[in-house]
Symmetry: C2
Subunit: 277 residues, 2 copies
């Protein structure tokens, strides 16, 4: 018997992956959670029927959330990750020695629990003493901590279920207020092939709050269309003004100093979403 | 009844697309050819069970074969496209007014015939007077035309079936000889997630023949992993020495002058394939 996991990424298109076994399948207080072991991509975390991360390609997303913004901020000591209970972004954040404290605020404790158990390659740094893990609502945490963080990273699911309010303008204003005076934030903002309207709306909202707003991209094979975007909002520093020659080489598999500016060069149809004529 | 086209991109992973109807399904003298109409990506050309092009995302591949090399060569008058019977690359080549003649050498006349009939948005320029269409073996054509072309583009299928010899070192030597003294060629070289060995081998082979060899990438949702590579071999001009400010804006949906150099910045795991330590 062959078992295949099939995910409809749109109503009419999807991916399908042969699986060895299902390790977890559970309805948590917030979402449907599954961890399945696939032949091609290894173990895979699936929330509400959408692939969140896989052992084979997780490095792309986690590196590309963490490193562009941390190599843009001049001295990121205090970092907040909203969501990201699998711990992958935290693992990358800790590669930056100047980060003194990384706070993870994940709404669903089950994501943390099962990631530690079944995805230790990803979640292994969640017990690091530089990390504080808080199981709580990220929206509330943001609004309760003013002028606190140097860098905030929003590692959310898609804007369905618990993450809906993480794509609202009020959330971005909360992030602005939670950041210090030279703070920067970054959020994953889905793909331009099927969700162009989302990228456009987030971009408009963030531009009304942050003076510097830039979108960059990365290739993630198991995410819809394989082309993922990230939106960065900054109070003072422009990521394109960084001297790439001063970026240290960290142990990464996707991000390099040579990619730092290149990823901000967008295909024309994505440029048109971000800077409509 | 719902019909879905499912393509195994590896033995254990694939894509699946809901279809409206099958327009063509035929065993030609060279390969299995199908044109199906999908809901998400529109009409789709499938050769030997692999998506070659779709109405929705074809612009990426066709633009990214044609424009980087044509904006690198100082004066590309005489262009050869090997394969590419759907006509998409030819359409992009003709956007360059300095190209006087574009020759298409496609081994399978049925690809041309059915593309003209069912994919006119892509194949529509094959009757343009600046185009010469030859139904023949590209490998032979290359070896019979020395010192003839300014630019050669290899728009092949994967290295199975009729395209096997288009990935051999003898073919790249033939291309070198068919190019004029400042000639440049580009070939599609598959994806680094599932076919890293192919990219590595082509790169090694081409480096033994051409003094300047560079790899660049683009996102193509319906191709395996969504990340596609292209290998450029050049006799004298380095694509990274071009002044982007002098590149004219053409009517494109993916390529822009701002992308010209950025697409050569590769993820570290791809860098490591191309420049092994």
């Amino acid at each position: 018997m062959e078992l295949w996991y099939t995910e409809k990424q749109t109503d009419h298109f999807g991916i399908t992956a042969k699986i060895k076994q299902t390790l977890v399948e559970e309805q948590t207080d917030f979402q449907h959670l599954a961890i399945i072991d696939t032949v091609e991509f290894g173990r895979m975390l699936v929330l509400d029927g959408m692939v969140m991360t896989t052992i084979k390609d997780e490095f792309v997303y986690h590196e590309m959330v963490a490193h562009p913004v941390l190599h843009t901020h001049p001295n990121p000591k205090h970092v907040l990750v909203v969501g990201g209970g699998d711990g992958g972004v935290i693992r990358e954040v800790l590669k930056h020695p100047e980060v003194e404290k990384a706070v993870l605020v994940e709404i669903d404790g089950k994501v943390i629990e099962y990631s530690k158990k079944y995805l230790p390659e990803i979640a292994g740094e969640l017990n690091n003493p530089r990390v504080e893990v808080i199981v709580n609502d990220g929206y509330m945490h943001i609004h309760e901590n003013k002028n606190t963080y140097d860098v905030i990273m929003v590692d959310s699911t898609e804007p369905v279920g618990p993450a809906v309010q993480l794509f609202e303008k009020g959330f971005y204003q909360g992030i602005y207020d939670a950041l210090k005076e030279d703070g920067i934030f970054v959020a994953q903002t889905d793909n331009p092939w099927f969700k162009g309207d989302l990228i456009q709306k987030v971009n408009q909202d963030v531009k009304e709050i942050f003076p510097i707003v830039k979108v960059y991209q990365a290739n993630i094979p198991t995410y819809p269309s394989g082309l993922w975007t990230f939106t960065m909002g900054s109070k003072t520093v422009d990521p394109l003004n960084i001297d790439e020659n001063n970026i240290p080489e960290l142990p990464t598999k996707y991000y390099t100093p040579r990619l730092h500016k290149a990823v901000f060069a967008l295909p024309r149809f994505v440029e048109d979403l971000v800077n409509p004529k």
